[in-house]
């Protein structure tokens, strides 16, 4: 349903325009080829293996709070950790 989830950048591989991001206990390697000047600890919206764009920490917090309120993240917390996009 066109859901794009905020995730925090925890590592950057500049040579390959890739980054590792986390959302809860899920880790993913994603492409950062479409965004400018990504930095560790910044938040991005993910879509099918790409960072779609950067979002502010406040916006990420607001979105994640909505998921929290609806207890949706907990429901999916048991997902297998994914390390390759």
């Amino acid at each position: 349903m066109c859901l794009a989830i905020p995730a925090r950048i925890v590592a950057i591989d500049e040579a390959n325009d890739m980054a590792t991001v986390t959302l809860g206990n899920v880790k993913k390697d994603i492409s950062i080829a479409l965004i400018e000047d990504a930095k560790i600890d910044e938040y991005v919206l993910l879509h099918v293996g790409y960072a779609l764009h950067k979002i502010s920490e406040e916006e990420a917090a607001r979105t994640l709070a909505l998921f929290d309120e609806a207890e949706i993240l907990e429901e999916f917390a048991g997902e297998t950790t994914e390390v390759k996009a």
Binding site: C2, V48, H53
Partner: protein
């Protein structure tokens, strides 16, 4: 099931034919959990925040539904700005596929740098048209955009489409009426989109996946309300049909009256060539609509008509098809929130993708390549898994 959802497609082959296809869209229905209890005024912003891939289409459908349920129409300026934001989003999403997914389908490199430019224009467009972020606020004060700034962004987009996608102005591409002229363009234009089209012709795959099309018609609001108010509402949202008939809501379904598509479908059926061409025509058509609305700022509100008391519907043609929201309000708060998304029509277990995949013939490697092309031509908004096995 993942939070983002996915579409899994498994095909079982016997010899050179497809014996069975199972299409399973596994996407959680999150709207009710996320929005129940939200104030009517906050709901569209929350929708835009959470369903942020097609945020403008989602927020538009949401705010129209809320306005209808509250019997509170939008200003004409708001409707005009919403429509322009949705058009840019459709263009961005089609370009996403063309720049990032299509190259791999004919052995080329993804055009990341080009897509980066598109995303910058998309951001500039949003900042220009909705600087105060009021377009999706009920009773929001929306002013017409600054025409010179909006025109300058639209011109940059038009130049990008001309120089990197069509190799001609979008208007000239949309005016192409004959298959012969179109296929010559595909053969001699060294750009990613025409090269994909030409590769289909070279491989003799023009008609691959041709299947009968049942385009999603305008839906009667009373009928839709009956489906979504019933005990079977969840089943309808997951696997919608029109009285048992799975319909398609795709760029082809919307553009099928274009003379080029009529000619291609008459010769080759609605297969790979016709479907990818429909995406290109829709890209050009949407840009032309955006340009036209800029010259004469539109002032109509395309709102679904009458519904039950406290119930509202919003229906928006988004990049991948029609997006329908239904809301029921109680004491000005969301009691029920439902979304019927286009992927559920197009990737229905008995829908158009299954019919197209069932028609494939050849060895497993060829069938896999053709299946991937068909899935991309119908474009789910989530990732997909394709599994092929032998009976």
């Amino acid at each position: 099931m993942s939070l983002e959802g996915n579409v899994s497609i498994s095909m079982q082959l016997t010899g050179q034919s497809v014996q069975q296809v199972v299409v399973n869209s596994q996407r959680p229905l999150l709207a009710q959990a996320l929005l129940a209890g939200a104030s009517a005024k906050d709901a569209p912003q929350k929708v835009g925040l959470v369903f942020s891939l097609c945020a403008k289409s989602q927020a538009s459908a949401s705010v129209y539904a809320i306005e209808q349920a509250s019997k509170n129409g939008a200003s004409k300026n708001a409707c005009g700005v919403r429509a322009q934001l949705v058009r840019m989003e459709i263009i961005r999403e089609h370009l996403w596929r063309i720049c990032l997914d299509w190259p791999a389908l004919h052995g080329a490199q993804a055009e990341n740098a080009l897509m980066k430019q598109v995303l910058i224009l998309d951001k500039e467009w949003e900042a220009c048209l909705d600087a105060d972020k009021q377009a999706f606020v009920q009773d929001g004060e929306v002013n017409p955009p600054l025409k010179s700034k909006a025109s300058s962004i639209a011109m940059k987009l038009g130049t990008l489409l001309k120089e990197h996608i069509f190799y001609m102005p979008p208007k000239a591409f949309y005016a192409c009426k004959g298959a012969e002229e179109y296929l010559l363009w595909a053969q001699y234009t060294q750009m990613n989109a025409p090269q994909l089209i030409h590769s289909l012709v070279q491989r003799g795959w023009r008609n691959v996946g041709a299947a009968e099309v049942v385009a999603l018609p305008e839906l009667d609001v009373a009928w839709l309300d009956k489906q979504l108010a019933s005990d079977a509402a969840e089943a309808f949202m997951k696997q919608p049909t029109l009285d048992g008939e799975p319909c398609e809501s795709t760029p082809y379904a919307r553009q099928q009256d274009h003379p080029l598509l009529q000619e291609l479908s008459a010769k080759d059926g609605v297969g790979l060539l016709t479907r990818f061409t429909a995406v290109l025509l829709e890209l050009a058509a949407t840009y032309l609509d955006l340009e036209k609305a800029l010259m004469k700022f539109e002032s109509t509100c395309d709102v679904v008509t009458s519904a039950e008391e406290h119930t509202g519907f919003g229906s928006v043609e988004a990049a991948r098809g029609r997006l329908i929201h239904r809301v029921v309000l109680e004491d000005n708060k969301v009691k029920t929130y439902q979304i019927v998304a286009p992927t559920e029509w197009n990737f229905h277990p008995e829908g158009v993708l299954k019919k197209a995949l069932m028609s494939l013939k050849g060895d497993a490697e060829v069938i896999e390549q053709q299946a991937k092309l068909l899935i991309h031509a119908m474009d789910p908004c989530v990732k997909f898994n394709l599994e092929i096995s032998h009976a």
